[in-house]
């Protein structure tokens, strides 16, 4: 099956937050008491009960100008998904759509994915000892529907479809914007399953890594130490076996001991 990806076009987003709410509705996520902290952004950040969030950033522009940037923050569904790589229980996995889904039943809350994700997406809930994140509405995809956030988006800022189609539409749009749009997501972690067309340079968006990658700690652990953790004990066992065969057990001979003892 062709890989499915989501496109967020910030140049079309009006920050209405229909996506944020649709996500809560479809996934049946409760609201938590919040307060206004001097921003429209609420809740402040992703949480076990908020899997998609519109981030609001105000950026100075010119003498009197300002830019108001909106960003749909949710799982990026990386090709090289660090979370899947580190997930020891198999709760996080790649689906047939190329998205990263989460089988909550398997998750034991080891939180390794939380530290591995370069985008800070998985959210740990101590009360359930589980991690939560956007799964691109797997239950909808399985029924031939697009994710709830995409369905709810009034302006077409969110789109969903086959990778080829979305990629070419995104490139076309960036060309059309002629310097007014920045493609984000095609150049790292093997390409993300949620692509951004940003209205401004990525550096102007809060909480958005400019060069995200699978963390070195994950590579050291999973690509080097993991094989080593099999090789090393295996080698030791093999060496012990050989030692037993060649050198033999260290038996204390009575005569020699006695001799020495008497000496």
């Amino acid at each position: 099956m062709a890989r499915k990806i989501k496109l967020f076009d910030a140049t079309k987003c009006t920050g209405c937050r229909a996506c944020q709410l649709a996500c809560k509705q479809w996934n049946n996520l409760p609201a938590k008491q919040t307060e206004n902290r001097g921003s429209y952004q609420n809740p402040e950040k992703l949480s076990p009960t908020t899997w998609a969030l519109i981030r609001f950033d105000e950026v100075d522009s010119g003498v009197n100008g300002v830019k108001w940037l909106f960003r749909h923050e949710a799982c990026m569904h990386c090709t090289d998904a660090a979370c899947v790589k580190v997930c020891s229980t198999g709760a996080l996995y790649k689906t047939e759509y190329g998205t990263v889904a989460l089988d909550s039943g398997k998750c034991n809350g080891c939180k390794e994915c939380v530290s591995a994700c370069p985008f800070g997406i998985p959210q740990y809930d101590p009360s359930t000892q589980k991690v939560y994140k956007c799964d691109m509405c797997l239950s909808r995809l399985d029924n031939g529907l697009e994710p709830a956030c995409v369905k709810a988006c009034p302006t077409g800022a969110l789109r969903f479809g086959d990778e080829d189609e979305i990629m070419s539409a995104a490139r076309e749009r960036v060309a059309e914007l002629d310097g007014g749009g920045y493609l984000y997501g095609d150049k790292f972690v093997g390409g993300t399953g949620m692509l951004y067309i940003l209205q401004e340079k990525p550096t102007l968006y809060s909480h958005l890594p400019t060069a995200p990658s699978v963390p070195t700690s994950v590579i050291v652990w999973k690509d080097w130490l993991k094989p080593l953790s099999l090789i090393a004990p295996g080698g030791v066992l093999a060496a012990a076996f050989l030692h037993y065969l060649i050198k033999g057990p260290k038996v204390v001979e009575e005569s020699s001991l006695d001799k020495k003892g008497d000496a």
């Binding site: 920050g15 209405c16 937050r17 944020q20 409760p30 609201a31 206004n36 001097g38 100075d60 077409g156």
Partner: protein, 824 residues
């Protein structure tokens, strides 16, 4: 809307002014985005940089309440640079008409038009010169100094870039950029549209704000074309429907006028409101007025009485007396109203000067609150700081069904009547509003039948056959299809018209067939054609678009007669019938018929028929003598202003408004603080995406309350610094009428204005909040507590008790306040 939602996608330039459409009409941005993708420009003019501004090609800030100065400058720019659509202006507007030489304009008359006495204009001089045959005297070259075009030019000559910038605070280069960009659409084949909402109407000059934009649209030939128009974004899904069906004091359904006591007979009433014209080519559609009156009376009172008797039953108002919101609440406040039905509204939060509204409710004997659930209005007697033992008002709550709990239609901003089906039953005792009315009607009728009373027949003879009566003769289950059919209208006798025979009891196919002799009925002539023998047109769900310009004519039904773009007769050249815009034609002459949209009364091309058929002369009014406050829009300062004097004239405020702030007319809740150092900051109010109106329906919704939990105030960093306020801190906002605590959002989206060389600060507050869902209020046993609390009360605690000169819409969008850090 003259046009419709989908049509926004056709526009080459969209000017959003007096609206934050991206936030408050999010779906509109589907079409705005489509227009932008096709290369259309988006201009956002707003005191604060909004979500709409974030997507705009040009953002121009202006001080609240200075729209006419801004637009007047644009009119001058268009005229100075001769960017008008000349053929359109000459043929389709009254620009060529000669005006009474005695007419005087503000520039030469101390800021007033001629004829003012007190706060009322005598409009004798606001008239046209006539020829001997009674037609208007015209100058097609538009050079006569008394012609409308020249007067317009003279009037707006005062609105120079310099003056406009001094008034609005908009930098001159921004003004010019907006003017230049928008005026581009004056070229034939280009279309510009305006989207406005409450930011335009909630001013003492609200009607004139819209007039100013209409004049621009006419000068640029943007009315009647695809992607053009003057488009009011209604603040509620069915506001258009409620207006069409006359949920206002001064009209009857279909914009028929409310009879006054002096119009004693139907003939006198019809004569007063049926216009005549001597213009040979004008269709003058309102000449059919008596047909619509007769059909309405038949719908009201049936065949059991004569039309004259039925007219006699109609309630009449006193001529010249206003019965709008402000007047009602002023009377209530003064103890002159005994009972009040607060139906589907939350007056305690939505009304201007909420302290007045809230106190007014306490002077009632009784109040019936018809709503989905309890609200600040129904519980006003136990609001924080109120002593229930001192309130005598008896309050009843009648729970009603929400829109998804009943079947019926709504009419949206596109004038599109869409049928909706019931999804679930109403909970508990809740009933659809119609059934509550039916129940009330039945009981009131019985009382009148038993006890009699003045004008008893007005009630007892009403035709009320919307379902099967129960044992008591009451209709408890309404058949909404019967109501929809009554609105459309029936033939009450067999009639043959143009060789076609219509049987008694059949539905009238179109309002052109309504009769003035009582042989037809129609509950609302504008909706005749909505429910015909072909079925319920509003329930049509064919999404195919034959037009190619998004008319979707087979989807639901729009008034009048399914016309999607009003005045579309103006979209074609008057002589050749060729569309101005051949790429996006609204109507096209195929040799024998107009195809495309339902044509707006136009005859075959070249016959001289004028397209603005609802005007007696068939022309759009650049000179509009019908309004209370002048035939041309003139800038007056808001009722409360930061300025000592009006920069453009000696007249400070709209002279034609009704005032309550003067000695003997009002109290502290009506007071005014203008050019007052105690209240030096301009304040405006706005809405949020997440909350609906006063928040009654949304503040209880946890997901929405989570996103917008608290009333806030947007403040520029400069003002915040002066006041020592940090982002996120609590602020106390005070106007002369009330105060409110709000969280500060310190943002560069608000910039200080330079007004006439002086720095003027502006702040803005959303008005979606109210005390009923807060944590600190008292909850009695059995009261539902919200899952999530919101904080803060209504911004209308601050707003002034003053209205527009024509509509009396309160001026909630420009008033004066002061702010301090809370507790400081």
């Amino acid at each position: 809307m003259t046009n419709h939602w989908n049509d926004l996608a056709n526009s080459d330039c969209i000017l959003i002014m007096g609206s934050n459409a991206a936030s408050n009409h999010p779906i509109s941005f589907k079409y705005v985005t489509m227009a932008r993708e096709r290369g259309g420009k988006l201009i956002s003019v707003d005191p604060r940089f909004t979500q709409t501004s974030s997507k705009a090609d040009i953002y121009a800030p202006l001080r609240s309440g200075t729209d006419i100065a801004f637009l007047g400058g644009m009119i001058k720019y268009i005229l100075d640079h001769n960017l008008i659509h000349t053929s359109y202006v000459q043929n389709y507007t009254n620009a060529t008409y000669l005006v009474n030489p005695a007419f005087r304009m503000p520039g030469e008359n101390n800021g007033l038009f001629s004829g003012l006495t007190g706060n009322k204009y005598d409009k004798a001089t606001w008239s046209f010169q006539t020829e001997a045959d009674g037609t208007a005297r015209k100058d097609l070259s538009m050079k006569d100094p008394n012609c409308v075009y020249q007067l317009l030019k003279k009037h707006y000559a005062r609105y120079t870039l310099e003056t406009v910038s001094r008034i609005t605070g908009t930098p001159k280069d921004k003004l010019e950029e907006v003017y230049r960009t928008y005026a581009e659409t004056g070229k034939p084949g280009k279309a510009g549209t305006i989207m406005y909402a409450m930011g335009y109407t909630q001013h003492t000059v609200g009607t004139q704000n819209i007039r100013a934009m209409s004049i621009i649209q006419l000068l640029l030939g943007n009315i009647g074309v695809a992607g053009g128009g003057v488009n009011a974004l209604r603040g509620e899904a069915n506001v258009q429907g409620s207006t069409d069906h006359a949920l206002l004091f001064h009209i009857l359904p279909g914009y028929l006028k409310m009879p006054t006591a002096s119009q004693e007979t139907l003939a006198a009433y019809n004569t007063a409101f049926t216009p005549t014209t001597k213009e040979p080519d004008s269709l003058n559609w309102w000449k059919n007025y008596p047909k619509y009156t007769a059909s309405l009376l038949r719908a009201y009172y049936g065949m059991g009485c004569t039309l004259d008797e039925a007219y006699g039953y109609l309630p009449k108002i006193d001529g010249g007396v206003n019965y709008s919101w402000l007047t009602i609440f002023d009377k209530m406040y003064k103890g002159k109203i005994e009972g009040f039905f607060a139906w589907g509204q939350n007056a305690a939060c939505s009304g201007a000067s909420s302290n007045k509204t809230r106190n007014a409710l306490g002077n009632l004997e009784w109040m019936v609150n018809v709503n989905l659930f309890d609200n600040e209005t129904g519980s006003f007697w136990r609001a924080p700081g109120t002593d229930p033992s001192k309130i005598k008002t008896e309050v009843f709550l009648l729970p009603c069904a929400s829109s998804i709990e009943k079947e019926g239609s709504i009419t949206n901003s596109s004038r599109l009547m869409q049928w909706r089906y019931k999804a679930v039953d109403p909970p508990g005792e809740a009933k659809p509003d119609g059934e509550i009315i039916s129940e009330l009607y039945c009981r009131i009728r019985k009382l009148y039948e038993k006890e009699g009373g003045p004008f008893a027949e007005a009630i007892t003879r009403l035709s009320w056959n919307y379902g099967m009566p129960d044992g008591n003769g009451c209709i408890r289950k309404l058949d909404v299809h019967r109501i929809a059919r009554e609105i459309n209208g029936y033939f009450l006798e067999d009639r043959t018209i143009d060789n076609v025979t219509y049987k008694k009891g059949t539905l009238v196919p179109s309002f052109a067939l309504l009769q003035d002799d009582g042989s037809t009925s129609s509950g609302n002539w504008l909706y005749c054609n909505s429910y015909t023998e072909k079925g319920n047109m509003a329930a049509r769900r064919n999404n195919h678009d034959r037009s190619g310009i998004g008319l979707h004519s087979d989807w639901a039904w729009s008034w009048p007669v399914n016309r999607r773009i009003l005045y579309n007769g103006a979209s074609v050249d008057p002589k050749t019938g060729r569309p101005w815009d051949t790429k996006r034609p609204v109507i096209v002459w195929d040799g024998s018929n107009w195809v495309g949209d339902v044509p707006d009364g136009v005859a075959p091309p070249g016959n001289g028929r004028k397209p603005f058929i609802m005007k007696p002369n068939g022309l759009a009014s650049i000179f509009g003598p019908g309004l209370a406050d002048g035939p041309f829009p003139e800038h007056y300062e808001p009722f409360e202003s930061p300025l000592q004097k009006n920069i453009i004239s000696p007249q400070m405020i709209n002279p034609a408004i009704k005032r309550w702030d003067r000695e003997g007319t009002g109290t502290a809740v009506d007071s005014r603080a203008t050019a007052d150092n105690n209240f030096p900051i301009v304040c405006t109010t706005f809405r949020l995406t997440e909350h609906w109106q006063t928040g009654l329906m949304t503040r209880w919704q946890p997901w929405l309350a989570e996103m917008q939990p608290e009333v806030f105030i947007e403040i520029s960093p400069e003002l915040a610094k002066i006041k020592g306020i940090q982002n996120g801190e609590m602020v106390t906002v005070k106007s002369i009428r009330g105060s409110l605590d709000a969280v500060a959002i310190v943002t560069r989206r608000f910039r200080p204005f330079s007004i006439d060389g002086k720095i003027v600060h502006e702040v803005g507050i959303p008005w979606n909040f109210g005390w009923a869902t807060t944590k600190l209020r008292q909850y009695a046993q059995g009261d539902k507590k919200p899952d999530l609390f919101t904080t803060g009360d209504s911004a209308n605690l601050l707003t002034p008790f003053i209205g527009d000169a024509n509509t009396m819409i309160p001026e909630s969008k420009a008033f004066m306040v002061n702010i301090t850090k809370k507790g400081a």
